[in-house]
Symmetry: C2
Subunit: 334 residues, 2 copies
């Protein structure tokens, strides 16, 4: 597989899985102290990674949750953000400017900050009441850690009694994602070959998958490949964006396995009928073995985040545009 170190990946998976008990300890502690609501606050890709959690809680939990962009919240505030709030934040580097500013803001309010950071001792880590180790460079591991956080919270709240089985499955699935990669590899190569010269792509998704779609379009294709995209939810696709489609327009549908899959099916039918450049990616085709339907419906964003990263390498190898290159971001102050 392109740019893939099997041993290193498996080793990292084991490290991630072995730290689940730390996440559980943090969640149990903040849950038992009592709280009013949960805020998900971060910037860019990190807050997009929290979108599935927001949807998950709204579908399955009576705990009030709020998702806020770090850049916004320090200016707008939110009347529900209080010292009784748990704030989940994430930053791989731990020094994302807006996120650090938001952490300082939350501290003045007295909220409890739990953060996922890749660098211990970083500014975000120092500002947090609890730190969850998130050092793996693989995006799917951030999703996994967030899903463990969320489901442990639901479990404590009596809203996910299947938690123990869930964790067992995730532990197995994490390493088995390698099988998903292998299955997706020729598909990724074909997609990159067919689409690396696209001047524009529409990306569509729904439910808990929406965050993955939004993130991939903005933080990978736009930021790392300079490919113009429009990302839109499966519901909104039919209220404007559809009119752009003709047989020459690339439309990518990333299907969810959760409740909103019927909305994706409608988009799929439309794509098959009106463009010759449609790409449908269904996590169902790439699920690690031994994952049952119920758990699959919860973890399909993890699987998708994992295999889409593989697609990035294939785009890179076709376009010759390094995934590492930036002309503005973190290059200088603006």
């Amino acid at each position: 597989m392109l740019k893939f170190n099997y041993e290193e990946y498996v080793k990292t998976c084991h490290e991630v899985v072995n730290l689940f008990s730390n996440i559980e300890k943090v969640v149990d502690e903040v849950y038992n102290k009592g709280f009013q609501n949960i805020f998900f606050i971060s910037s860019g890709g990190s807050v997009a990674e929290m979108l599935p959690l927001e949807r998950l809680f709204k579908n399955h939990s009576t705990i009030p949750v709020f998702l806020e962009n770090a850049g916004d919240i320090v200016l707008t505030g939110n009347k529900h953000l209080t010292k009784e709030s748990i704030v989940l934040m994430a930053s791989k580097s731990g020094d994302t400017k807006e996120t650090v500013a938001a952490a300082k803001y939350c501290k003045t309010i007295g909220s409890t900050i739990v953060s996922l950071v890749g660098v211990q001792g970083s500014p975000l880590a120092s500002l947090s009441d609890y730190v969850i180790d998130n050092h793996s460079k693989y995006m799917e591991h951030t999703f996994i850690n967030m899903y463990v956080f969320a489901h442990r919270m639901l479990f404590n709240n009596g809203e996910y009694p299947e938690y123990t089985k869930f964790i067992e499955h995730i532990k197995k699935a994490a390493i088995k994602l390698v099988d998903s990669f292998e299955k997706f590899e020729p598909v990724a190569a074909k997609i990159a070959k067919d689409h690396y010269k696209d001047d524009y792509q529409i990306w569509v998704g729904s439910g808990t998958m929406w965050g993955v779609v939004y993130l991939y379009a903005m933080c990978i294709l736009e930021e790392m490949q300079w490919i113009r995209t429009k990302s839109v939810t499966s519901a909104d696709f039919f209220h404007g964006t559809l009119e752009l489609v003709d047989e020459t327009v690339p439309v990518f549908l990333i299907k969810t396995m959760d409740e909103t899959r019927p909305l994706d099916n409608r988009v799929e039918k439309f794509i098959n009928q009106f463009t010759e450049k449609g790409v449908i990616i269904d996590p169902k085709d790439y699920l690690p073995a031994e994952i049952n339907e119920e758990i699959a419906s919860r973890i399909s964003p993890i699987v998708m985040a994992a295999i889409l990263k593989r697609l990035s390498y294939h785009f890179e190898s076709r376009t010759g545009h390094s995934l590492e290159f930036r002309r503005y971001y973190r290059q200088f102050a603006y």
Copy 2:
């Protein structure tokens, strides 16, 4: 002015303003009956028009609010949607398929439905507990009606004592928007001339203005002019989309006058530095006379929705692409 009937517009403004007392009656009644939270549920442009309300409540109110796409909510549910919820819905035609389905869904739950509809006796009107007349064809009037709904609610909740002054100003401003149109007309003509051949545009905005930006890009430029767009918040712009910008890329910034204006200022600086195709539209330049700063910060989305509609006509006159033409939407079942 292009495609503008002054007498008809002023007449419609008077009709809208004269119905404010009906909105107040509805709000007072549902407020006094008691409720747990407010849901904003609709499809496409109508739910985008509710985005400013969601932000407004989060910034200024302890009332819990939730915004849900009609297509999603019937599939996902939301644990906070109960018979104690007030649901605000909107559909100009009153027969938007997904919105009608969502109204039926809310009815089974027993929530109180308040809807803004343009057609009395339409399916949505029939399903609603309270109907607010929203027959004006001008988008700014939908915003105005929604803002009256929201601020009357805040007033009842002790969170907007300035309500009476606010309403007085809105009543005056509604008709004075004609002055804003006149001021914006040559600017709109120039923007359309410079940009009607664009193959792609980035649209940026923040805070209560984000809904206007999202709506305009998707429901006007994409749906009615088949111009490809990316709409992105001022905060997220710096986490991906910025990398697409060079001196040839059109970037439209629609500034807000609310708390998040500093985020827009940062985008403005970036645009001025890195593209020769930047367009900055600031509602401050087009405010109706006699509107003070505090009220301006609340109503800037109304002013912007109004003047952007003028821009649509200028795009239409340049592209020759009728704003009425659709190839898919409502043309057949898909």
